[in-house]
């Protein structure tokens, strides 16, 4: 496999604090890797080390086969990076800023024109090209940063919260832009928005306390949810809970409120067909029968649970969703 990003044994300590604690992974071309994790988990720090901004305490980073420590300039040339908060030069205009990036990256005149046209059209910057960046809205600032990151059509993209501060339409546009580029590049994005992982990533990694605690496709991670394949059933008949519990593949029946039950499967297998059969057999007046939708946030909470506040939030959420 041709790895575009190789991260090996990455460690970063700040004084006594271990911000990143022995992280290793590889990303091939065509993969969109989503970094998930609570604030302060080490996502941004990892990205800063991959892009060569921070020097790792230990470990190594290779980008397109180039070692960041030995050949930083060549390695950086392979990367497009949107740092956290999308910093830019406040008194420059977007077009001036993009031209500066093109100067440093030594794009020739023809490539520069073609790429500028492409990013300006695809990131929708036409309207603000000549306005100082400091006067732009948060969403536009983010898009200027994104335009800068993809300007030179890099094989590796590192995007730290690319859709933060965008409205739903803009989020959708940025996601489709990432999806369009996905085949040709190796991409890492970090996000707090779990639906984004479903929308654009084909691999997700949960980072907590500087370590990788889960790694797989979004579907694989969803399978780890306690609610995976659980079934919601509304029925006011008598003895529903007992009958459901008697089914072979059912591990637990929870009565959420009077006449509404959540049925958990054993081994995560699909049980909705069995329950439908049972309901028909017994002639229950079932007003609702549905499989719980796959939810990454349960998985996220499960893996990043060590914080006390999370446990509380979990109870609260479950109640809300049950209503």
């Amino acid at each position: 496999m041709d790895w575009m990003i190789e991260v090996e044994g990455l460690v970063k300590t700040f004084g006594h604090l271990k911000a990143v604690d022995d992280i290793s992974f590889n990303v091939p071309k065509g993969q969109v890797l989503g970094f998930l994790g609570p604030n302060g988990a080490g996502k941004s720090t990892t990205m800063k080390m991959i892009t060569g901004f921070m020097t790792p305490t230990a470990g190594s980073v290779r980008v397109a086969g180039l070692d960041m420590d030995d050949r930083p300039i060549a390695a950086k040339a392979q990367i497009g990076y949107l740092p956290e908060g999308a910093p830019a030069y406040p008194d420059m205009t977007p077009i001036g800023f993009l031209n500066f990036a093109a100067d440093v990256r030594r794009l020739d005149a023809a490539t520069r024109r073609r790429r500028l046209d492409y990013v300006i059209a695809n990131v929708h910057l036409e309207a603000v090209l000549e306005q100082p960046i400091e006067t732009l809205s948060k969403g536009f600032k983010r898009r200027v940063g994104l335009a800068q990151a993809i300007l030179h059509d890099p094989p590796v993209l590192i995007l730290d919260e690319p859709t933060d501060g965008l409205d739903p339409n803009q989020k959708h546009e940025v996601r489709s832009l990432i999806a369009d580029m996905a085949k040709e590049k190796a991409i890492i994005i970090s996000t707090h928005i779990l639906e984004e992982v479903d929308a654009v990533c084909n691999r997700a990694m949960i980072i907590a306390d500087g370590r990788i605690v889960a790694d797989g496709t979004p579907a694989e991670l969803e399978r780890q949810s306690p609610l995976h394949n659980a079934v919601l059933i509304d029925s006011n008949d008598d003895g529903v809970a007992e009958a459901l519990f008697a089914l072979a593949n059912v591990s637990q029946v929870e009565e959420l409120q009077s006449g509404r039950y959540r049925v958990y499967p054993k081994y995560g297998e699909s049980i909705v067909a069995e329950i439908a059969d049972l309901s028909k057999q017994r002639n229950w007046a079932t007003s609702r029968l549905s499989v719980e939708p796959p939810r990454l946030d349960d998985v996220f909470r499960k893996f990043t649970h060590s914080r006390p506040a999370d446990g509380h939030a979990e109870d609260h959420n479950d109640n809300l969703e049950a209503v």
Binding site: I73, K76, I79, P87, Y89, D91, F100, V104, G145
Partner: protein, 244 residues
């Protein structure tokens, strides 16, 4: 080289994007005027030279150059743009050199705009143009020295005010080490060699030498090596604590 040029152009354009450049230039010209004509008694001296004009340059630069230098790196840190700059494919040295050169050229523009002084003195008498050219050269070299010190100190902090104050103090030391207040202190007891060594660190000593119209290679080497040394330190500081 190309990346230094790119940083240089962005920085220099940046000065004129904000009121900073215009305010600086106006204040610089205003102060040089006041110093020359009032404190320097340009007319009373009755001599066709620019001595009173150049004599005040070290003291003017002492405050004005750190004001330019303080933002060079501190602002990048504050706004986070340093992360962007240093993840572009350029060496730290080209960023350091590009920023320094842009600020230097900017100060050079301000200094260049004092040309009416030269015209005035030429109109009034027969000045030694060679001395004036040498003095301008000495002045810009000295400004480069102050600037390199200020740029290096700016890289250590994200607070521009801190950068300014510390730069002024360090620049002050480099200025007065050749002035009587310091030298008299040593003169009473120290051997002449030590006295010379201390004086040789001073901008004043070297600037005065050039101002007399003699461009000695040693004075040129002093300023150029001082600039390079501080820029080298600047590069190391940026490299070591780029992410803090």
């Amino acid at each position: 080289m190309a990346t230094t040029w790119a940083v240089f152009r962005r920085e220099l354009k940046g000065y004129f994007n904000t009121p900073l450049a215009y305010i600086f230039i106006v204040i610089f010209l205003f102060l040089t005027g006041i110093f020359t004509f009032y404190l320097g008694s340009f007319f009373l001296r009755g001599q066709a030279d620019l001595k009173p004009f150049f004599n005040f340059h070290p003291w003017l630069y002492l405050f004005l150059v750190p004001a330019i230098a303080m933002r060079l790196w501190a602002e990048e840190r504050k706004s986070g743009s340093i992360e962007l700059l240093l993840t572009l494919p350029l060496s730290v040295w080209s960023a350091v050199a590009g920023k320094f050169l842009a600020a230097w050229v900017f100060i050079g523009i301000a200094l260049g705009l004092t040309f009416p002084m030269w015209l005035t003195v030429s109109y009034l008498g027969q000045p030694d143009h060679g001395v004036i050219v040498a003095s301008y050269l000495g002045s810009i070299l000295m400004a480069g020295g102050y600037l390199a010190i200020g740029a290096c100190i700016s890289a250590t902090t994200k607070n521009q005010v801190v950068a300014f104050v510390i730069s002024v103090v360090v620049c002050f030391l480099f200025t007065v080490s050749g002035a009587p207040i310091v030298l008299d202190f040593f003169a009473a007891w120290a051997p002449q060699t030590l006295l010379d060594a201390v004086a040789s660190f001073s901008f004043l000593t070297h600037f005065n030498a050039i101002q007399n119209g003699v461009i000695d290679l040693r004075d040129l080497i002093y300023f150029i090596s001082l600039i390079l040394l501080w820029l080298f330190a600047n590069q190391i500081i940026v490299d070591l604590k780029k992410a803090n």
